[in-house]
């Protein structure tokens, strides 16, 4: 009986939190239906999320591609299927690893920064000050970040994809001595538009999730520096988990076709 009760309480708590986050997101998005629009702030955020994440994402992407080529060689050489390596690398990177790894890296970098910045603004009354200066904090702080996340992560992932495939190319050519022309040929032979699109859809969703978690936890932080630290942790952890959950969900949904 007690076990049931605690499961029930946990479920209710989970539902309530989900509801609050959804309402938060919808309220923020609704502010975008009427002016003023803070274009400068959106551009600033896009720069922050996209441009300044390039080194981190590029570095992780190239090693992902390289290790992918190594691992698939180990497997495929056992049944003389080395020719499939190019296809495996490009499909894994474009459909799965590009978006997920970029998502996780950006969650750590940008999600944390958003939660810390907005959280600090909350505990130092800057959000109250915004309100008294006739500026809706959801419109000024949250909406630009949500939009920037949604738009910028796909762009970032396109670059991550290219760098990841290039990593696989490097290992295959210089380590295994594949013919560059054939390798590139194979890379594009079986790649379909839907593979790229599904990867970019994931990226957009992940970008939105990262910004939403950063903003939500920052916005609701309380209790000084400690509260801000906690908000930062929550933002990164919840965004990372949600990325993996949604990754499965989107793959499953797109897999059916």
């Amino acid at each position: 009986m007690n076990a049931l009760a605690s499961i029930g309480a946990a479920t209710l708590g989970f539902m309530a939190a989900t509801g609050r986050i959804v309402i938060f997101a919808l309220t923020a998005l609704a502010t975008g239906l009427s002016p003023p629009f803070y274009l400068r702030v959106i551009l600033r955020q896009m720069l922050d999320i996209g441009y300044f994440s390039l080194p981190v994402v590029g570095l992780t992407a190239i090693f992902t591609g390289m290790v992918l080529a190594l691992q698939s060689y180990t497997g495929f050489s056992r049944f003389q299927a080395e020719s499939a390596i190019a296809t495996v690398v490009v499909l894994s990177v474009v459909r799965e690893l590009g978006p997920v790894i970029s998502g996780l890296m950006v969650a750590g970098r940008v999600g944390a920064a958003m939660a810390a910045e907005i959280g600090t603004m909350r505990v130092t009354e800057q959000i109250d000050a915004l309100t008294t200066l006739s500026t809706d904090p959801l419109r000024y702080l949250v909406l630009p970040r949500l939009l920037a996340g949604l738009v910028t992560l796909p762009l970032l992932v396109v670059i991550a994809d290219i760098i990841g495939v290039f990593g696989g190319y490097l290992v295959s050519i210089y380590k295994f001595g594949f013919n560059p022309v054939t390798y590139l040929d194979r890379t594009f032979q079986y790649l379909e538009t839907s593979d790229v699109v599904s990867g970019l859809v994931k990226a957009a969703v992940f970008g939105f999730i990262i910004s939403l978690m950063g903003c939500y936890h920052g916005y609701h932080s309380r209790g000084g520096a400690q509260g801000v630290g906690q908000a930062t942790t929550y933002a990164v952890v919840s965004a990372s988990i949600l990325i993996l959950v949604f990754d499965y969900g989107i793959t499953q949904a797109l897999f059916a076709r």
Binding site: P36, E125, Q126, L130, T131, T132, L133, S134
Partner: protein
């Protein structure tokens, strides 16, 4: 001057205001009025809820009970749009300054003009420099970041931001705390000027009795969730109220007990 049709109606009128945080009852049945174009000073011990009172009036906190009327209009539970319009009339100096650290000083001061009212950046900058000058800061300060300022400078920038849009109602939460006595007096003069020349209504919170006497037309003392005394500033020395007497004389002994234990 303020467009109010009824001269006798107070600018701000608070009735039976109550606000608790969990079991901590901060405000309880608080009544206070502030007439148009007057300067009201609220005094009271640390932690009695002065800042909470101001935040309730501004709608930054939702009171548990009671009514707050500004220009005769009930503001508790106001919708977002109407609240935004109301806040257009208000300027606020927060106790902790609350400057935006991502923006340079001048954009902080200009924020309400540019983002809130859609004024052009050039026009706003001119106003900003004038307001910075009024709080004793030169134009070079405008280019600094808030993190590069001293505590007193931050306070003055926050003050400039509060008065930048020439508001009808100005809230000052401890405007002179952390300033040297001379600068404190400059700020007092500035507040008086806002009230006298711009016809603004001011609500100030302070612990500084020198400042309270100088800027207040009326003084109200907050204790245990309600106003225990209020009257013209000139009468504060003959209030006949033991709370007020203890407070203005700064005595540890009296009806106000500080909740401390001996070492």
């Amino acid at each position: 001057m303020s467009g109010s049709s009824d001269k006798a109606a107070p600018k701000i009128s608070v009735r039976r205001l109550g606000k608790s945080f969990g079991r901590n009852r901060v405000l309880e049945g608080l009544d206070i009025d502030c007439p148009v174009g007057e300067s009201l000073v609220v005094i009271g011990g640390s932690g009695v809820g002065k800042s909470v009172l101001v935040k309730c009036i501004l709608g930054l906190m939702r009171p548990d009970e009671g009514s707050i009327r500004i220009d005769g209009v009930e503001t508790v539970g106001l919708r977002r749009k109407a609240r935004e319009e109301l806040l257009q009339k208000c300027g606020v100096l927060f106790q902790g300054s609350a400057l935006f650290d991502s923006l340079p000083v001048w954009e902080n001061v200009a924020f309400g003009l540019i983002q809130g009212r859609g004024m052009g950046r050039e026009a706003a900058k001119e106003i900003v420099l004038a307001k910075l000058g009024a709080v004793g800061l030169g134009p070079e300060v405008g280019e600094l970041r808030p993190a590069e300022l001293s505590g007193g400078m931050r306070k003055r920038v926050a003050l400039a931001r509060a008065i930048a849009a020439d508001p009808e109602i100005i809230f000052f939460d401890e405007p002179t705390t952390g300033l040297d006595p001379i600068m404190a007096d400059v700020i007092n003069d500035l507040i008086l000027k806002c009230v006298r020349e711009l016809g603004a209504t001011a609500v100030s919170i302070t612990h500084d009795m020198v400042s309270a006497r100088k800027i207040g037309d009326r003084i109200a003392m907050l204790h245990k969730g309600r106003i225990v005394w209020h009257g013209p500033a000139a009468e504060i020395d003959r209030s006949g109220n033991q709370f007020v007497d203890q407070f203005i004389n700064g005595r540890a002994e009296g009806p106000i007990h500080m909740e401390i234990r001996a070492l």
